[in-house]
């Protein structure tokens, strides 16, 4: 039989795959994590695919797992999910532009109305709107495609394959996160166009900014996950779930970027997942010493390690919850990989 060779620059994929099956797949990816438990891998019943002549056999072979192969397969599966999500979302140009450009468009519209507003206030509002855009993209991109897979019974096929549930989750998050980053960046550009100014508070701001953005994306994608996994409804995912972002944006005054218009007031704005990350981003990206005059307080800025730790705690909670939901509900495998 023909086998892949040129692109892989090595052993044929068919043979390579067979080797993987022999060495790592007796349980490995099926139960997640890329590499199975050593006891599970100590014996592998090989079928015809592992035979040089293809003859049926009941031979039991002893083989050792190779973590590198498991990791390579896991990475390939992450890429498969991420690439497919991006391709599906980019099949319609209008849909893609709407997805990543809505927040930037809002910033351009609002910015044109804010003639008397300071540069810091405009920049803060742009970050708040940009975070809205990122959250919206995460909820839509993650939820819509996942709901489609569930409605089309694709998980029944996935469950029959040696797919790592964590690779599925990671791939979808990478794709949605990449689009969210584009939406956020476009909104910051719109903020500059409408008169806002941005600057890093210090070099130490870089990891905080990255962390705040990533945690926000993770949090909101994984908020969508249990809703989609249990409802399995593409329409709900397309129109209902993204409304969570809209509600959060409206109820917290542009995600905590304009406390004057926020129905929620006080310290809580430094603790909610959407407002904490937004206010951290503003503190580290907007050069202002007049926090209250810029419409950002009270409360004061979320300065201090406890706020970063709270963000990390949010990330851990949602990652654990997301892993459990993916493994248990989508792949029907158990509570934990």
């Amino acid at each position: 039989m023909g086998r892949r060779t040129p692109r892989d620059q090595g052993p044929s994929r068919g043979k390579e795959a067979t080797q993987r099956l022999e060495s790592t797949d007796s349980r490995p990816i099926a139960t997640d994590g890329g590499v199975g438990a050593p006891d599970a891998d100590s014996t592998t019943r090989t079928g015809p695919s592992a035979q040089s002549n293809g003859a049926p056999t009941s031979e039991v072979r002893v083989s050792a797992p190779t973590p590198d192969a498991g990791t390579a397969v896991w990475a390939s599966q992450v890429r498969a999910f991420a690439e497919r999500c991006l391709r599906e979302l980019s099949t319609g140009t209008t849909m893609l532009l709407t997805l990543v450009g809505t927040a930037a468009g809002m910033q351009l519209f609002y910015g044109s109305l804010w003639e008397e507003m300071s540069a810091a206030m405009i920049a803060s509002a742009a970050i708040g709107t940009g975070m809205f855009g990122a959250i919206y993209v995460c909820l839509y991109a993650f939820g819509y495609l996942l709901a489609g897979d569930l409605e089309d019974r694709r998980y029944e096929a996935y469950r029959s394959m040696p797919i790592a549930a964590s690779a599925d989750l990671t791939g979808r998050m990478v794709a949605a996160g990449a689009l969210a980053a584009v939406a956020f960046a476009l909104t910051l550009v719109a903020g500059v166009v409408t008169g806002g100014t941005f600057a890093l508070r210090s070099l130490a701001s870089i990891p905080v900014v990255v962390l705040a953005f990533v945690v926000t994306c993770l949090f909101w994608m994984l908020v969508a996950l249990p809703v989609i996994a249990t409802a399995a409804n593409e329409r709900l995912a397309e129109y209902g779930v993204p409304m969570i972002a809209v509600l959060g944006y409206m109820l917290t005054g542009f995600n905590g970027a304009n406390v004057a218009i926020s129905p929620l007031q006080g310290e809580v704005l430094n603790y909610l997942p959407n407002t904490l990350s937004t206010r951290l981003l503003i503190y580290h990206l907007v050069p202002t010493g007049e926090w209250a005059e810029a419409g950002l307080g009270p409360p004061g800025p979320p300065v201090g390690p406890e706020y970063v730790l709270l963000l990390v705690a949010y990330a851990i909670v949602v990652l654990v919850a997301g892993t459990v939901v993916t493994n248990r509900i989508l792949y029907e495998r158990g509570w934990w990989p």
């Binding site: 068919g14 099926a30 015809p48 049926p56 690439e83 694709r154 469950r159």
Partner: protein
Amino acid sequence: MVAVSCIEVTNLSKSFDDGPVLSGVDLTVDEGEVLAVMGPNGVGKSVLFTCLAGSTHPSGGDVTVFGADPTDRSDTTSFLLQDALCSERLTGRENVRYFERLHPAFTDDWQRYADRLGLDALDKRVEDYSGGMTRKLELTIALAIDVPLYLLDEPTAALDLSTIQVVHQLLREKRDAGRTIVLSSHQPMDADLADRIAFVADGRVVATGTPETLFDDVPTVVETRLSNADALSELALADEVYPADGAVRAFLPDADGETAPAGVASSLPSAVSLVDRPTYTDLFTYYTRVVPTTAHDP
């Protein structure tokens, strides 16, 4: 040579919110054979396949595939589930690319299968495919995964006759290479491919065996013109009169498939004649529509 079983199903049951779909299913599949699971639409074939593939946990009973619970181990099986494999928003080639990255046992053989099946619109989106084209793409993907066991749910549905012949040939090649194939179908012509057939009706396996042994148990078949169908109704076993080959047919309630006794032909009503050799349509009809109602155990 002693046959080694790769699938063992014992007293399998599966229920959903609206009631049981499978109950008391017993089935064994030997390594290297082609087993056709046949039955009308809606009798639980697809649910049975999802249990074999590890996609669904049974409500009761046991399923082992290569000695393991298929929900615990998923590297031995390639599962073609109708209309569930490909994304409609992607092109055929993008779908192939996706599974190429996703499944560690995916091989370059997909190109050969695509060529053999006449799948020549790989750069069109699947949403623009016909049902037959979609099935060709799904078959291309499922067969390109190099594993010991293929579970193919209705692999020939929506395909034209010449493509069905190609599919049969591809599956024979797989079998000759030592792979085991379990396919479901409600098309009698797929029985031609099978080493053994399992008939499913009313959520259970009502008969299994080689085509020869199953044919041996089919009662005498008689036929007449459509306009004379009433004449058959009076004779038909279990009142089952069915269309076949441009006529209508029925089974005579003779003893366990024995050759019709001499003189039967002369005693038949006007324009009703004996059928010399039952066809797969007769076989299919007998085991899926007559056996369940008569509780006949061949």
